[in-house]
Every structure is written in structure tokens, then in C-alpha cells.
């Protein structure tokens, strides 16, 4: 991994400063500070309800934050729709439940946004789509509908769909937790490949093997706060806070 780690540059891809978010009166995210370098691969973990999804959904403005600032690729996220659209077209996202468009074929799923958002000619968009479908190893499914694919295949299509927009940052929200064990590996392999290509990645996951293998940094969240962050080896072998120790003992214990 050391070779891949060298690709991390000093350039800041995402910068979150003193960010706070409430759902009504419930304080979900508390004073989040986080800088992500370009090419960095961050794994976020923590107990259920700790605000992991909310945090990464704030980064592409699927959720609004109320205080502090989020800057993605130099664009400050505010209520300005122009900025939001700009950030969204630079940031790809994969969801736990894939969220493919069931009424469109795999190929159409992949070409839709490039054609309509990037205004790329259809033919070119299809070539790009086939390229990425090959990359995630399912070019032969291009003309099927999402409902005809297995969960693992659907998630790989979802990754390809995001990649077709040529994003500079990818967000993953528990991409493997709705999958059967034998499908988890195929999705993780795809993500590892992506990491090796130098993609900036933020990934909410409990796949600790994946974290050890590709992450530069593991972030542990609890009760809406970043409790601990460290390099994977340090994080797993030598956790500092009691909360982290307890969490690790729970997920690694069995």
C-alpha cells in the first residue's frame, strides 16, 4: 500500500470547519473539523446513529448544515444552488441500497447524468459508460435492467454510474452492508482498485479488513462527534479513547 499512499498530495480536497447540524432540536453533528487531502482514503466508522451518514451526506449537500463551513474542491457549500450543483457534479456517491434507476437499463443509468448534466454527446457518453462497466467487470449486463442483477452487481453498477461523471471525490455510505457475504468481496475489490487509481475516497463502512488495506486514516465517530482518528494500524492496534476500545472490541470480538 505504501506506493499508493505516496499519491496523497498536499492539495486540500475537502475542508470542513466547525460544522454543526441539528435535526429539529437534536444535535446530530457537533463541531466537526476535518481536512481531506487529495488522493486520501478515509474510512469512517462508529456505532449506529452516531451521524456517519449525515456527515458524508452533508459533503454533497444532500443534507444541509446549519453552522460552520464545508468547502469541496474550493467551492464553498452554501444555499447557493449553483455551488451545490457544481459540488454534486464533482462528487460521486454510492448508497447502501444502490438506488439505481429501475426503469432504465444499466447503460442508460450510466449515461443519463453525463448526457444531461455534463452535456456530453450520447455516443461518447456510451463509450465512457462501457469503459467503466468493464472496469467494474460487468460490461455484458449493459442492456439489462437493475432488477435483473444481483445486489453485488447492482452496487458495482452504482459505482460505475458515479464514475461516469468523472468525479474527483467519491463518497460511500455503507456500500456493502446490504449485501450477502459472497458479494461483499466483489464490491470491495472494485473499491480497492479505485483507491489504487488515486481516487479521493470517504467511506462509511465496518469492513475493517478494507480499512486496514486501503485507508490512510480511520475516523471514529460517536454521538455526532469525531472521537478519534489515526492511521489504520495505530487505530486498530492502539486505540486511545475508551469509547473506541469498546467499539472495536464489539465489532472485532466475534
Amino acid at each position: 500500500m505504501s506506493e499508493a499512499q505516496m499519491k496523497v498530495s498536499d492539495e486540500i480536497a475537502i475542508s470542513i470547519e466547525n460544522m454543526n447540524k441539528w435535526y429539529g432540536t437534536f444535535h446530530v453533528l457537533r463541531d466537526i473539523n476535518l481536512d481531506v487531502q487529495r488522493g486520501e482514503r478515509i474510512v469512517i466508522c462508529g456505532p449506529s446513529g452516531s451521524g456517519k451518514s449525515t456527515l458524508i451526506r452533508c459533503i454533497n449537500a444532500l443534507e444541509e448544515h446549519q453552522q460552520g463551513s464545508i468547502t469541496v474542491d474550493g467551492t464553498l457549500l452554501s444555499s447557493d444552488v449553483k455551488n451545490i450543483d457544481k459540488v454534486r457534479s464533482e462528487v460521486g456517491m454510492c448508497f447502501q441500497h444502490f438506488n439505481l434507476f429501475p426503469h432504465l437499463t444499466i447503460l442508460e443509468n450510466c449515461t443519463l447524468a453525463p448526457i444531461w448534466v455534463r452535456k456530453i454527446p450520447k455516443k461518447e457518453a456510451e463509450e465512457t459508460a462501457m469503459h467503466f462497466l468493464e472496469k467494474v467487470k460487468i460490461p455484458e449486463q449493459a442492456d439489462k435492467y437493475p432488477g435483473q442483477l444481483s445486489g453485488g452487481q447492482q452496487q458495482r453498477v452504482a459505482i460505475a454510474r458515479s464514475l461516469c461523471m468523472k468525479p474527483r471525490i467519491m463518497l460511500f455510505d455503507e456500500p456493502t452492508s446490504a449485501l450477502d457475504p459472497e458479494m461483499i468481496k466483489e464490491v470491495l475489490d472494485t473499491m480497492i482498485e479505485l483507491a489504487e487509481d488515486g481516487m479521493t475516497m470517504l467511506c462509511v463502512t465496518h469492513e475493517m479488513g478494507f480499512a486496514r488495506q486501503v485507508a490512510n486514516r480511520v475516523i471514529f465517530m460517536d454521538a455526532g462527534q469525531i472521537v478519534e482518528q489515526n492511521e489504520p494500524e495505530e487505530f486498530f492496534n492502539n486505540p486511545q479513547s475508551d469509547r473506541t476500545k469498546l467499539f472495536l472490541s464489539q465489532i472485532l470480538g466475534h
Partner: protein, 430 residues
Amino acid sequence: MSDTPNIGFVRHEPIPPSAPPIQQAGVVKWIRENLFSNWINSILTILSIYFVAKIILASTPWMWNGVWTTSSLRECREVLQGTSGACWSVLVERWNQMLFGFKYPVEAYWRPTLTFGLLLVCIAPILFQKLPRNMLMFSAIYPFLAFWLIWGGTLLTPVVVALSLIAGYLAFVKMERLTGFATGLLTGVVAVALVLYLGSFVTAALPEFIALEPVASRDMGGFMLNLILGTVCVSLSIPLGVVLALGRQSNMPIIKGICVVFIEFIRGVPLITLLFVANVVLSYFFPPGTNLDLILRVIIMITLFSAAYIAEVIRGGLAALPRGQYEAADSLGLDYPQAMRLIILPQALKISIPGIVNVAVGLFKDTTLVSVISMFDLVGMIRGPISSSTAWTGIYWELYLLAILLFFVVCYGISQYSQWLERQLRTDHH
């Protein structure tokens, strides 16, 4: 340990597949199981047979004995001499009025007939996905052709309207790609208005250019009027319903408010009151001198009415979509109009089909209500000119039977189609 049975098991010989057991079949078995399975069931079966038989026995001779060739109800009675029998001659003599109304020029009957025939051709490619896609071209031309055939006048009028819509569409597409939905829409509307304005000079200059004999709206009648109102209002109220449904979901309080108030208001009043409004009140809303004809006013009212219902049906479809679909569209950077048009609506409409068809069938039948504001649709013809003519006063059954038959054929067709469509969509992607 020793008293637990040995639960270890290994299969050494696989079980070969065998044929399913033979089902007992036969008429007697079916009857016994379905009609006489217990004593309540048996009583109900016997009662039903009794009533069905009674109806058939009473009506068959009446229909069979029917008289076809007389010229008034009195003559019918003379021929029948007190025996039971229908007086079908009223249908023979007045069928044209029941279908076309009593003022539509007889020598032009071929025009609405042709229009109706072409309607089937026009709908076919929309309904049946397997037909060649370029037939849709005809469907696009059809509304203009239909207008020209039924109302007559110069062919230039519908051509100008069609051209203006094409111009508007092109302007919209160009501008939307460059600058976004709102400006695109605005440019489109301006283009439509411009072409219409210029075109009005052309039509005024050449009123005889490929012209058919013009027929005024007030001369439309009979089942033709029901069909016109039904098809026009259904096809207008679906897009309007979509807009209302989206408006009701909007984040902008004013738009949302307008849509909610509109929908709730329309759903809270009977259609018939709206028709009276169309008949007398609506003309106050237009600048003095504009003489909006009655059919147009009625079309507006019925369209608004059914749009409110369709909006609610579509809202249900929108609510049934998982939130993930909206989020996926957002996260790819699609803007609101794109997300709606490309992702949300295609799926929501698919879910809403049964509900929309339900509203459409109801709407088509409700077009008979126009008879109360003295428009002579099929029911209006029966109640008005036909039953009050001296020759046929007092005749009801035969006329209403025909009306029932006509409506039933159309509505049953629509309902069968929608069931077929649902089956198609269900098997489509799975």
C-alpha cells in the same frame, strides 16, 4: 446423552423427480365445489339462477318481437297490438342524431366518423409498445387533423397552431440546454405566441385554402360530443394533473399553497356546479367581447375538475417512490426539472396508471352531465329532441339501452386496456 435419538443423517440415493399427482377434474366436481359447497352457497346459487332466468325470460321476447320499420311510437303500438315488444324503429330513424347531434350537417357525417376511426390509429402506438415507433408521428399530427375534420374551416388554422408548437418546442430545447428550464420555458412560450400572431394574418388572408365546410361548436352533439369531451379533457388533464401534483410537493410555499387550495376546492364541489359556472359565469372572467364558445368553457371546467383528481392519484405515485431515487438523482447533479422528468415522473406515472384510468373512465361517463346545461350530448339528445318529438314521446328503454351499450363498450375497452398495461409493466423488467 444416550436417550436422545440419533439425528445424524446422510442421503446416499438422490430422489428422482416425479410427475405431479393427477388433479381430479370434471364438471360435476367443479359444480359441487364452487356452487354447492355448503347450504348457504347452494341457496345463493339457486336464487341467482332464478333471477337471471327471470330477467332473460322477460327481456328476450321483448327484444325479439321488436319492431324495426315504423315511423312513430303509435305505429309501433298498433303493430304490436298489446303484445310485449321493443320499438327499435326509433333507433333506425334517429341513430344519426344520437351519434352526431341534430344539427351537424348530414353530408359531413363522414368527417367525425373518419376522425373517430383515425383516433384508434392514433392511440394504437401509444397503447401498444410493439407497433412501429414512427407511427407516433401520426399520433402527434392527429389532434390538429381531428380539429380540422370536425370543426372544418381552412387547414391553415391547425397547421399554424402546430407550427407554433413546434417552434416553441425547438426554442425550449435549445434554451433549456444552454440556460436551464425556466428560461427555456419562457422562450418557448414567446416563440409559440409569436408564430401564432404571425400565422393569424395568414389564416385571415386565406380563409378558403383547403377548407372544409365549417361547423359551429354549438352544432356538435350526440355521442360524438361525449367522445370529444372525453378524449380532449383526459389528454389535457393528465399533464395538468402532473403539474399540480408536483406543485403540491413544492418547497415554495406560494406555489404549494395555490396547488393545495385549488385541488381541495375542486374536489370539494360537484362537477355539475362547475358546469353551471362554465355555462353562465365564466364569460365574466374574460375580457368583454371575447366570445369563448360553450364547448371550450366546458372543456376547461371538466379538465380542471379531473386534473385535481389525477393530481391526487399522481401524488400517491410520487409518495410511493423510495427517497433514494430523489437522492440518487440529486447526487448525480441533475437539477429539479431533469430529476422529475427523467427519474421521478416515469416511475411515479407507471405506479399511477390504474388510478389515472379510473379517473379517465369516470370522467368519460361524467361528460353526460353536460346535458343539464342544455348541451345535446347522447343523453341530452335522448332527453331533449328525441323524447320530446311528437313521434317518439314516451319511449325510453330502447334509447337508453343504446346509450348504455355505447358507453359500456368504450369504458370496458379502457378498463381492459389498463389491465393489459399493468400486466405488461409488471413483467417488463423482472
